[in-house]
Symmetry: C2
Subunit: 205 residues, 2 copies
Amino acid sequence: MSPSEPASPGVPADQPADAERPLRAHARRNRENLIAVARAAFAAADDTVPLENIAREAGVGIGTLYRHFPTREALVEAVYSTELDAIATSAPALLDQFPPDVALRAWMGRYEAFVATKRGMVDILRAGWASGKIATPTTRKRITAAIEAILTKGTETGSLRADVDPEDVTTMLLGVFLSTAASDTPEQTGRLLDLIIDALRPKNE
Amino acid sequence: MSPSEPASPGVPADQPADAERPLRAHARRNRENLIAVARAAFAAADDTVPLENIAREAGVGIGTLYRHFPTREALVEAVYSTELDAIATSAPALLDQFPPDVALRAWMGRYEAFVATKRGMVDILRAGWASGKIATPTTRKRITAAIEAILTKGTETGSLRADVDPEDVTTMLLGVFLSTAASDTPEQTGRLLDLIIDALRPKNE
DNA sequence: GGGAAAAGCGGAGGGGCCTCCGCCAATTCG
DNA sequence: CGAATTGGCGGAGGCCCCTCCGCTTTTCCC
């Protein structure tokens, strides 16, 4: 629709460039307000906060909330996408410091730690992730890209298998988060991540 | 329809022994009716059928449905527990025919095939499984028991690792089902199951 | 057999989710 | 400078979930 300027490659802006439509300013303030309120709400209440409350507290109508964020998951993603992005971005640094297999495990641990602090979020995202089509194509792509980078390096150094689709690893990882979501066993999650790493190691024939 | 022999210890019967309370007969008929209708409904409509419809079609009030099955997941479990049980029970036969690692993969495949035909079910169980406390302790226990049996055998023959908790394998497996639930990639699920098996093979040092 | 008590039934009702549509404010053009 | 147009707002309303409570049916005890 709107012709986005190809300014920064590889970093698609969340919002369409800058003020081309002044009226947007109002809309944008609403949007950011909603995100801020939602962040607070999600942090406080562990799970399902009535969206109506968020709308009211942000001083907008429920209709406006739904225009900006058509589904509950969309709102959640908006709230956490920056944080998730930071995690995805942290992969290269880990790759510089550690061998790929260790880096991958560390990176997964980092991801897991984040997810652990946002159990409420996971509870909400669960449906969206699992039923697939609804949500998070962007975030998920970045996660997969991070994994792919690590896998590629690992393939070169021989510490990780070459014949694994990064997408599969993402799916597996999310699966672990999904199914450990509420069973509250922090070490179990760690063990499962270890298992994933084991699966990704080349079998020395 | 009532095969409940008190034979095997450790296998708690789903229904409390047999007819001690005749009145129960009426109640039981309602219950079974609900299950039958629900089975048909779940098979037909891929996902969320209004529980009210099921109640109406079964000729009972919504209140009765909720008394018998306090949550949606409880109803789903009731519908599929016998089938799931059959899968769990099929493990020993596979163990007789194949080496443990192969048997485990085959068994997982069987489970997966079942889940695949019941995507609607998974969609519903998702919440229950993932948010843990709500549902399916019984069924899950049987699944874990089946896995444990295979793992034990595999440990003896040396084709599977000894240091893995069966519960972890269950969690992992459910995680795969959870996160592949709707992304409709039948082969991907297979690849992920292969990865699990790889993770469970002893690393030949 | 008859009456009391228990067991079970069913639907009304309150709450949240999401959609749809009429109204206001900013923008643009004559 | 004023009027048509467009972008955006907000809440009323329909749907489903689940709970709660008065009513019917069955059983038990004399």
